[in-house]
């Protein structure tokens, strides 16, 4: 569309006219702004300067109350207690060194504490923010400071709250702990909440405290105060309370956890007990543990070094952080892979001469003399290795690993714990990528009995057992409710495997514990309706087969036991790992029986649940444990009141 020159020019003239008009209006407005600026900054400057200097309104943040943590029955696991501290606003103190010295004399601070406070006061990065100069002071110190306030400009007592873990070491590996915000914590956040900059504010450092930080922290409130020229608070104008953090209820049963932790004393071990119905983690114990209360105000190296140097590694949460070769506990997976694929039937037999030649290498069964002809049930019961070597060669590693994944091995479970390990279910592709080497047949043979590259955490083994026991995709959960609102049960659908096969596996596991020739027969439960089914595992740490007692602790085998009970109506699934404990049947299975009975009976089980020959020993053990169990002591005082 072509326009005439005249039309174009006419419209351009009109445009220019209006542009000039609008531009003029804009300039006029800017003139208005300039006049306003002059009015505020020049005419009224003195008045505003006065306001700024003499009577300024200040907003101080009120730290939110951190959510508390409870066990499934409402037992408190983490709480807040009031603590008093003395703070100083350096800019308001004038000669802050002199004031600091006066405070130190008044409330008897050690030279060390004084030096540390001065160091913090000299840091310029946060002007006008109160600096804590003495922490956890007594009420007497608070009143002394208040009485002497005129001589101590800028100094004031404050009441805060600090975290306490009444259950001490029992829950270090579940609840975790809080600590002061470190510069590293701040850097990790893109847009840190202002409350994190409050001196000595505490945030979750590990486990539930850290993973559920957003829920637990809450939001800060603020108080608006009028301050005078020296910065002293004249009056509080308004106070807006923040939102406290949410209270969390865990799925853990504190009483059971306490028993398990006591039962594991002296070992480097881990126990996970799952509720089969919802996947609730009712106990998650890693021994030895440590007292998280030591860490809250900053741990002293006197306390820290022994924890760090302990060869039993108390700082590591072995239930989810530790990945171990699952040993014979893995045999159910190899068997399931084979019978689900229809490669063998449960009643087909394999001859075990005590070893199998594969690719020119001889793979031994743990029993050198061999088991003879074995079917699925006998092989599991007596833990024959050759049977599984044979299955694995027929099925192949890919199917075995895929089956293990469906049972929750090699998968990182979403739990509110720190450093959850995903374990490892190796595949050909994995080995090529990670190790740069081709998969060899010997790797399959090793993997079939849970050795070689295969790795699993006790948590994963417990999940596997719960899935075997129920045929459902039991998924572990640790948070039961948030502020009283029940959290959803995660994935609990059917596994979609043939029922007959699952039943066969359960029956075989039953035989492991209850058949006279089963490897865990000595750890059976004889109470009706409480029968346990399980599988022992002994995973090698070194390659040569040597008697465990003749080698140092670090080289002994790991002892494992997975189990579920009651056999006909599974309620709990359990995995026990004893690091370098020797054999699964001797070191792990007895622990599993004790903790399982404790879970089934909801407390100390009657002696007649144990086979007769064991009762004397168990009675003595129960008596000994009652003494070291804080729960038992608390029970005497509190529950009766």
């Amino acid at each position: 569309m072509r326009r005439s020159r005249a039309e174009t020019d006419a419209s351009h003239t009109k445009l220019s006219r209006r542009a000039a008009l609008l531009g003029g209006v804009q300039l006029l407005f800017m003139g208005g702004l300039a006049a306003r600026m002059r009015h505020l900054q020049v005419d009224q400057a003195d008045q505003f300067r006065l306001l700024a200097e003499e009577n300024r309104i200040n907003i101080r943040l009120i730290p939110p109350v951190r959510g508390e943590i409870f066990d499934r029955n409402g037992v408190q696991l983490a709480k807040n207690v009031p603590s008093y501290r003395i703070v100083m606003v350096r800019e308001d103190a004038g000669d802050f060194r002199a004031v600091m010295q006066r405070v130190a004399d008044l409330i008897n601070l050690s030279p060390e504490q004084t030096a540390r406070a001065l160091e913090e006061l000299e840091d310029n990065s946060a002007p006008f923010l109160p600096v804590t100069i003495a922490e956890d002071v007594s009420w007497d110190a608070v009143s002394a400071v208040s009485v002497n306030a005129p001589a101590l400009p800028g100094v004031s007592p404050e009441v805060g709250s600090t975290r306490v873990y009444p259950r001490g070491s029992d829950f270090a590996h579940v609840v975790g702990r809080v600590g002061r915000v470190s510069p590293k914590d701040l850097e990790a956040l893109e847009n840190p909440d202002a409350v994190l900059r409050i001196p000595r504010f505490q945030i979750g450092k590990i486990n539930v405290e850290a993973r559920e930080e957003d829920l637990l922290r809450g939001t800060a409130g603020n108080r608006q105060v009028e301050v005078n020229a020296t910065g002293r608070v004249m009056r509080e104008l308004e106070r807006r309370e923040g939102q406290s953090g949410a209270d969390l209820q865990l799925t853990i049963d504190a009483k059971l956890q306490n028993y398990v932790q006591a039962r594991l004393r002296g070992e480097s071990a881990a126990v996970v007990i799952l509720d089969c119905e919802k996947g609730d983690v009712v106990a998650n114990s890693s021994a030895p543990s440590y007292d998280p209360n030591l860490f809250i105000g900053g741990i002293l190296s006197r306390d820290y070094d022994p924890l760090l140097n302990d060869k039993y590694r108390p700082l590591v949460n072995k239930t989810v952080q530790g990945a171990y070769p699952p040993g014979s506990c893995f045999k159910m997976m190899t068997a399931m892979a084979a019978i689900e694929a229809g490669i063998i039937g449960p009643d087909d037999t394999v001859y075990c001469p005590g070893h199998l030649e594969v690719g020119g290498r001889r793979f031994h069964c743990w029993k050198r003399s061999g088991h003879g002809w074995v079917d699925l049930e006998t092989s599991l019961k007596s833990s024959c290795d050759v049977y599984y070597y044979d299955l694995a060669l027929k099925v192949g590693i890919e199917k075995i690993s895929a089956m293990a994944n469906r049972f929750g091995l090699g998968i990182k479970h979403d739990l509110a714990l720190s450093s959850v390990n995903s374990g490892l279910t190796p595949t050909k592709e994995w080995k090529l990528r990670q190790r740069g080497a081709d998969w060899v047949i010997g790797d399959t043979v090793n993997a079939s009995i849970g050795q070689g590259f295969m790795l699993a955490t006790p948590m994963q083994l417990a999940v596997m057992t719960a899935r075997l026991a129920t045929g459902r995709e039991v998924t572990p959960r640790l948070i039961k409710s948030v502020n009283g609102v029940e959290q959803p049960v995660k994935g609990n659908g059917p596994l979609e495997m043939r029922d007959a096969n699952l039943r066969k596996m359960r029956k075989s596991m039953y035989a492991v514990v209850n058949d006279r020739r089963g490897t865990a027969y000595r750890s059976r439960i004889i109470a009706d309706g409480m029968r346990m089914a399980g599988k022992t595992g002994t995973s090698q740490v070194r390659s040569a087969v040597v008697d465990n007692k003749s080698v140092p602790w670090e080289q002994r085998d790991h002892a494992l036991f997975v189990s579920f009970a009651p056999y006909d109506n599974p309620r709990f699934a359990c995995a026990v790992l004893v690091e370098h404990g020797g054999g699964g049947s001797t070191a792990a299975a007895p622990i599993a029986r004790d903790v399982m009975l404790q879970a089934l009976y909801g407390g100390e089980p009657p002696l007649d649940a144990y086979p007769e020959g064991d009762r004397g020993r168990i009675k003595a053990q129960q008596r000994a444990l009652r003494d070291v169990q804080p729960d038992a002591r608390i029970k005497k005082g509190k529950d009766q009141a």
Partner: protein, 379 residues
Amino acid sequence: MSYLEHSVKSVPTGLRKVLFLNWPLVLLLTAVAGAGFLMLYSVAGGNYAPWAAPQMKRFALGLCLMISVGMVPIWIWRNLAGLAYGISVMLLIGVELFGSVGMGAQRWIEIGSFRLQPSEMTKITLVMFLAAYYDWLPAKKISRPMWVLLPVLIIIIPTVLVLKQPDLGTAILLLAAGGGLMFLAGVHWAYFATVVAAGVGLVAAVFQSRGTDWQMIKDYQFRRIDTFLDPASDPLNTGYHIAQSKIALGSGGWTGRGYMQGTQSRLNFLPEKHTDFIFTTLAEEFGFVGGMSLLVLYALIVVFCVASAVMNKDRFASLLTLGIALNFFLFFAVNMSMVMGLAPVVGVPLPLVSYGGSAMLVLLLAFGLVQSAHVHRPR
């Protein structure tokens, strides 16, 4: 099309275009951004992190973007105007449906790691589309009701979407910029009188709706307006911002307290001291002289744009340039009025000075269009 009526031959081509950029404008923009870096460095307590350094990087990026946009012929931008407007509206609807909520409002949309604020973009695409519309519309039709209704719809659609986010500040800017463009294009006076009347009616309706279940704006927005109308009524909540802002500004005096010496902006915990209220810090630390200098820089930017537009015989180009200049003016005028207590607190940043990547990039992109109009003007 009007472009073709003029001689194309003398328009520079290739890399030579760089020489024909509106360099004074580039310098002015850089100067304003420089003032921004200074202030961001200061409010962070003398640190490049967390604001000054990223802001510098974004400005450098934005400058490159501006020059690149400026090298592309203006008629290409005109042909893209409808598409750009369409995309903006779609994105605004996208925010409504999938956007993430930040500070009580739904404004962001995330594409990968990139966060986009479509309402920012819309300020420019709306102007572009209206300029293209009036470039296409024959002069005699401009004031006919049908042809007035159409641009009104073009303005209203994004405005309503932005208002729903809710982002009152941007909605007002869109309305004002759109209306301004219609005025520049030559729409008859009478329409504006009508709009003003309708606007008064709408304001009345909004206030009538308060407390009923068809309440049209959020409670906090009402409170801000109340506070503005009567700051003394509520000196500690929303009035607090204005009161503190005025104290900080006023205490600056003639020459200010000196760089990094402002106590108020540091003390008063204004939540947005690095974005919407950054002018208070500047005015406190550099006083009336500093504040006026920035205002003069802004005024010069507007003047250079208007001059470039008036010299430009291409209708789309001059309308676009004027529209962008108007947008820019509205930005800083609203922000400054707000911090000086002349307007209610609406979330409008100080252009090129406040911290914020999206706003800065979009603004420099817009000035890229101004450059393109300038470089490719008919000679």
